[in-house]
């Protein structure tokens, strides 16, 4: 009896500390917070920052044909170092000092879901 209570308590504690990983923000939460302000909630490139003043439109992530031209490494480079990393506009910000490796990997997977494409 005592023993199973002990195991139960141990399991609960383990369960709580195990959920530490879930604390790292999920990819959708990260996307909604940092990226949707320009790329839009559904990735169509229509976030609230896209006004007539923006010199280029943010990439539409649902355009599979365009998104297929980019490898996962291209995505990582442009997310980390900004548009100029792929000779694109500097309006695409560099996020290397903001996002963790894990968050960036999560974002790449999230973008692939939005475009339903694998990339080159």
């Amino acid at each position: 009896m005592l023993r199973s209570a002990f195991i139960f308590v141990a399991l609960v504690i383990f369960g709580i500390s195990g959920s530490g990983e879930a604390n790292a923000a999920g990819a959708k939460e990260v996307y909604d917070f940092y990226c949707s302000q320009c790329h839009g909630a559904t990735g169509k490139g229509d976030g609230p920052n896209v006004t007539k003043d923006m010199p280029v439109t943010p990439r539409n992530f649902t355009n599979a044909a365009e998104m297929n031209k980019l490898s996962d490494k291209d995505l990582r480079d442009v997310i980390m170092d900004g548009g100029p990393a792929l000779s694109k506009s500097s309006i695409m910000p560099p996020w290397s000092q903001t996002l963790t490796e894990g968050e960036t990997t999560g974002l790449i997977k999230h973008i692939r879901k939005l475009c339903k494409c694998k990339g080159k």
């Binding site: 604390n23 923000a25 939460e29 990260v30 917070f33 940092y34 949707s36 302000q37 320009c38 909630a41 976030g47 609230p48 920052n49 006004t51 003043d53 923006m54 900004g82 500097s90 309006i91 695409m92 910000p93 560099p94 996020w95 290397s96 000092q97 903001t98």
Partner: protein
Amino acid sequence: MVKRSKVARILALSVMATALIGFNASESRADAATGKKAFDSKKCGGCHYTTGPAREKTIADQLKKKGPELWYAGSKFQKEWLGAWLQNPKPIRPLAYNSLTKKNPGNHPKLAAGDAAGVTDYLMSLTSKDVAAGVIKAKKNLKGKLVFTKKMPCSGCHQYEMRKKVKGGLSGPSLVGAGKRLNPDWIYAYLKAPKAFKPVKMMPVFTGILSDKQMKDVSTFVANFK
């Protein structure tokens, strides 16, 4: 003899001056205390926290906030602007706080002149040790302009005014008139050590991306927005 009385006069004057300065300081402290009472009784603390250090650890923490943190208000704002804004709070952020879809409703609580003066003294007494004074002076700065408008995405998220035209993105606070609102030294301190003030925010961290010189240039440029 003449010399003696001169010394005495200087002494007397300096004693008086010290007394005056002391009196002034205690008076503004009294105002800050009255201001804190007004701040509490108007329930400003329901949307703003006023004790540092920064508390936000996750995106969810930031999204739960109903208004910007004010614990370093005295380092961030210019006193004159603050006193006027509290009486006539025009929208600063184009969009509602923490929203990407709703317009700023422009319904911030207003204070009467008397309360505004006290609350201003109180908020100006809340400072951060991470803001060094006298580093940035507002003036024209072409290199800073280049960083803001070309090299970096600042204009993608912030409104600013150029040749009498307001342009730029909407997700960040408008920087139109930032030179009247923000302390130039705070702008630089924020770019240099953003996590001390805003650990979780939609703006990218530029430390390590912009050089120290570029941060000073762009702060000088932003501080000059009229």
